[in-house]
Symmetry: C2
């Protein structure tokens, strides 16, 4: 029988994390928490794809410097992004002389990279490794919808892809913040075909993962200080609350979503909220990790949410499956 939960015998620590963002993220409620930003969102590069790669490079550089580690100390980088085909991570991280393991989990890639890094560290294959993810509003629009130059009108359910990169260093070295459990997501296809309503495509995957997790661990939302999803935004957030209520779980007290909080809904016109790999990566790498480190949050469930959207199969009339990977992060304060 399947082992649904991965319980880490020697829980890996997150010894450093870093976040790099664009202008709108800096102007949002958590703007001062991020390590670095560039208001031009170009990061000195000539194209949006290269700018996104440069954000990843910068995020990893900052995280490694916080951890006081150099290239020769890191056994591997687990990295991915949204761009065809993992362009930002492949090109952005080229300057590091470190083995590179490419991942693709759509917007769930931050949780996916933490989950696989945690397996590699906890079980002794690696001593130190890095998990890196990014998204960029302009490269993602060109990739999945229309280039920004086209000036398309956005629908009310659409979310804004966060311009941001997050990097995490995992290690055996104690740091006060550790990953104690993880659970891989099973893909869910509920027939959503609207590439402008990713929240609805991903919400059922979150519900599937949460129900499997609560069942396997005999727990409920009230056992956690916070349950944080990646980028469901206002549409998906409401769907999760409703679907979980039908299953008998009241999520209201502990549940939040990175896409819901990264922008100021009243002052910033971001429709249904933030999205993208970078959304959950920068929020976890800054605000949430800090709250765990400071003892404000003792244990959190961090759930990366991905819409396994392929522009080509959407053109072919196929629906958009969702996936949700879970990691449990605990503080030692």
């Amino acid at each position: 029988m399947r082992r649904d939960i991965i319980k880490f015998k020697a829980p890996p620590y997150i010894i450093a994390s870093a976040s790099v963002v664009g202008r709108h993220e800096r102007q949002g409620p958590f703007g001062s928490c991020f390590d670095s930003f560039d208001d031009t969102e170009r990061f000195g590069m000539e194209s949006w794809e290269q700018a996104e790669g440069e954000m990843q490079r910068k995020a990893l550089e900052i995280a490694m410097s916080k951890a006081k580690l150099s290239d020769r100390d890191i056994d591997g980088i687990f990295a991915g992004d949204l761009i065809n085909q993992c362009t930002s991570s492949s090109y952005g991280l080229l300057s590091f002389d470190i083995p590179h393991f490419g991942l693709y989990g759509a917007c769930s890639t931050c949780a996916l990279s933490l989950l696989i890094s945690a397996i590699a560290i906890s079980e002794g294959a690696f001593e130190n490794c890095a998990a890196v993810t990014s998204s960029h509003f302009c490269s993602a629009e060109r990739q999945f919808r229309t280039p920004i130059e086209y000036g398309g009108q956005r629908t009310p359910t659409s979310q804004r892809t966060v311009t941001g990169a997050g990097a995490f260093i995992l290690s055996h070295r104690a740091s006060g913040v550790k990953i104690t459990e993880a659970m891989g997501g099973i893909s869910c296809d509920m027939g959503i075909r609207d590439a402008n309503n990713m929240g609805a495509a991903m919400a059922p995957a979150v519900v599937s993962t949460l129900l499997r997790y609560f069942d396997a661990t005999h727990s409920s939302p009230q056992n956690f200080d916070k349950i944080i999803t990646g980028d469901l935004g206002f549409e998906g957030y409401g769907i999760v609350i409703d679907l979980m209520e039908k299953e008998g779980f009241d999520m209201r007290q502990v549940y939040t979503d990175c896409g819901l909080v990264i922008y100021n809904r009243e002052k910033q016109d971001m429709h249904a909220g933030g999205s993208g790999c970078g959304c959950s990566a920068v929020m976890l790498a800054s605000h949430f990790i800090n709250e765990v480190k400071n003892g404000v949050l003792k244990n959190i469930l961090f759930i990366g949410t991905g819409a396994l959207l392929s522009p080509m199969l959407v053109q072919q009339g196929m629906s958009i499956p969702g996936i949700a990977h879970l990691v449990k992060i605990e503080g030692e304060m």
Copy 2:
């Protein structure tokens, strides 16, 4: 200091493998070794991308049936492919009720998926898991070069993307074929800009990985029954022989490449040979695993080779980095 080699304390076994191919692969020298084929290369589906997904589904179904395992016995699937964004694996494997971990290593994805699966099994996170990869000539041409309907003339250095999917089941259960070591590749960018000469882009990455491996293990080509690269084809194969000779290693006796042998060069007009994730996946899943199982080969180095080619960054004038992941497979005969 980095641990370059991952030595598995409890080496995971490959307990089953399966290969599904198209017409040209069936007509090649190893045609009779593959488990299943469809001469129409459509596999009953309406588009090439969906056909590629169906090949993955079929390959995993056959491998699970050989291993006598059902969905509930498999802790996770590590899968990837070449199509924007991992479409074939995301959609093709939807029908399995198994956690899905998406990977992207371009054509190195077979070795990458075996490497990460091996970490997950060996170190106890998982009991059984699957590694699945594919490529399809028609979907890859549309993705990376021009749709086949365009009828573009192929250059002599171009390789034919193999239409094929390979699936492997890894487990603690002894089977006679085990993965004893692995080494992640470091990306190499030697300035190749020609999307029709992937062999040249990938060969330096193979040399980098081999030199790091020989150095760390104090070994040489003569310590192995076979060193097998994924899909360098005739161009890249020759470059590896030459570059390794300059470094003092004679590869001629033990070195082969899946792209070199999968087609009959005299009877089949495949230019520089085969390529794609499916190339190394179907050759390893059939012929090479059988030779290890039967004791013909006692130990092999299997090196997945990937050109981290992004159509968009090639259009932006960027060069094509290569990567090469290594797994050491040993027989117990």
